[in-house]
Symmetry: C2
């Protein structure tokens, strides 16, 4: 496996990670950016793209997705290399005091410095605790609906009690052959109007409600699902013939492998020096929501300022003998990186 | 003189002072803002409104004046009271631990907290050291050209050797009765093309060049100028009949009365605790370029983050017993202040 080299590896492509690309670029440092999501933008892109944000300076109101587009455009002149849909698994130090990162896809990156801008950590769907789940994932079990048409004329089991489960049940019922909604409580946690529609579809015989039931097992071969086995709280079993299972159990957030790198942690946060964003590991910095110090404010704005601080510190760290001639962007504009 | 009361008095209406209004507003604190300039925006508005800025997060490029417009709009819902064209002269503490500010226009403001966001300090035109200058200022002596037509058919003396002096000489020569340009050196510090035009006008007899000469005195009555007296470096005197003197000697920057308030200063900077932006005076905070601490970055972005930090600290300072329920702006939007 070939290895890619860079000045700075940024873990996390949320707003703060993207702005770190810009700030490193202004210091003439190039960047690779790794993120577990398949797109840049972190929570702004994945969880609330349509939500307005009010506390970014200069924006009386900006949609989260628009902010991400603008930050990506601001970083673009510095030609960052994005490694998406993969998690940094291991961190290793070379005898030359460089770091080598390896991702879940086997990407290997050798870097002089690391900026951890991982927010709340890696986040992804909560997975139901079913023995042979992995066999069916991405074949018959899906956590996102990317293409609604893929479920036309299919027998669907939708699991969960929140808005996602209810809204997708309503959306897919007209095109699916059959929809069974499984929830472990009688009451849903969805918008009342949506829940009312769900019960109407159930009383009309268009969908089946299996409540209160939990997922118990999956049956099938080679990833092709045949039956979803349910179990009531009283222990009653039920077998639902099905082609597809769609579990909507919310998002899990966790530090992931970062927790094992020897960083000075406070729960799921990384201790940093506030004047440099340096962690206890040489050449490793943390910024944004994942970084903590006394009186830290968890604002996107704070993360932006930390990105600037980290970039300046890295510049000095990598060029210790050199006095950096600080110029205002109004004077010099955006430098050419190469 | 009546006294106005507020939660927070912000000294300086530059970008950082304006964003402090927003951050205080989010903490449900209302603000009065004082600035020596006649408009908000500080240097962005007065010195480089047309310059693009590249390092504000979310703006690949923004003109300084546009950034100010956006920050002013972002602050507007919190209804700040602006006191422009006046300088804070004195600071006084009441027995109730409140502060009373008085400005050069006699405005008196009683406030619970003060945020100094004064950038490089008050700035204004460098004034020539002439004995009776004040008598003529704003009558026959002007430091800005607000309305070019006001100088039609007038005899003008323009003093200075930079772009402003040269450009205004070129601009006003066609409409003035006479233009004399006074500079203490033979060489101008203006764009070569402009300087060439100036010398052409001089050799055509359209303007007079008095170089190398300095301003020596003003003669006239009740603010009506009659003669500007010049002196060469060799001591030779020259009297120029004139209606108007336009000195273009650049901008002076100084802390002004702030220097005498007992703040812990480092030259023209104020020492603050970086985690709170608190100065050594209780209830007095400093943010932006005027505030200093180890590894401080003089970026507008840094000032924005400090504004957030100061606002949160002031909230706690004014409501010590109360746990502030922190909400993301995406959740709660912008609060109603009253």
């Amino acid at each position: 496996m070939t290895i890619q080299t860079t000045d700075v590896a940024i873990i996390g492509a949320g707003p703060v990670g993207l702005f770190a690309v810009f700030e490193c670029g202004m210091m003439r440092l190039n960047c690779h950016v790794i993120d577990t999501l398949e797109m840049v933008g972190g929570q702004c892109a994945a969880l609330y793209p349509e939500k307005p944000i009010y506390d970014i300076p200069g924006f009386p109101e900006v949609l989260a997705a628009d902010l991400i587009d603008r930050l990506k455009a601001q970083a673009a002149p510095f030609e960052p290399v994005y490694h998406l849909n993969q998690q940094v698994m291991s961190l290793e130090k070379t005898p030359e005091e460089l770091w080598i990162l390896e991702t879940s896809k086997g990407t290997r990156i050798q870097t002089k410095a690391i900026v951890i801008a991982a927010g709340v950590g890696a986040f992804g769907p909560n997975r139901p605790p079913l023995e042979n789940l992995e066999e069916f994932e991405e074949k018959s079990v899906f956590y996102y609906v990317k293409n609604r048409e893929a479920f036309r004329n299919k027998r669907l089991v939708i699991a969960g009690g929140g808005d996602s489960a209810v809204d997708w049940a309503l959306s897919l019922a007209p095109i699916a052959e059959k929809v069974t909604v499984v929830h472990r409580r009688a009451k849903f946690r969805a918008a009342p109007e949506s829940e009312a529609k769900l019960h109407k579809l159930a009383s009309d015989g268009i969908i089946d409600l299996a409540i209160p039931y939990q997922l118990e097992g999956l049956q099938g071969d080679n990833g092709v699902l045949k039956t979803v086995v349910l179990k009531s709280l009283g222990g009653e079993m039920r077998e639902v013939p099905a082609d597809v299972l769609l579990p909507f159990y919310g998002l899990a957030m966790n530090l992931g492998p970062i927790a094992d790198w020897g960083l000075d942690l406070n729960g799921t946060h990384i201790h940093v020096a506030p004047d440099s964003c340096a962690t206890n590991l040489p050449g490793v910095f943390a910024i944004g929501d994942i970084a903590t110090y006394p009186h830290k404010l968890k604002l996107i704005l704070t993360g932006f300022a930390e990105a600037a601080q980290a970039a300046h510190t890295i510049r000095t760290y990598l060029h210790p003998g050199e006095v950096y001639h600080f110029e205002y962007s109004t004077t010099s504009g955006v430098p050419e990186l190469k």
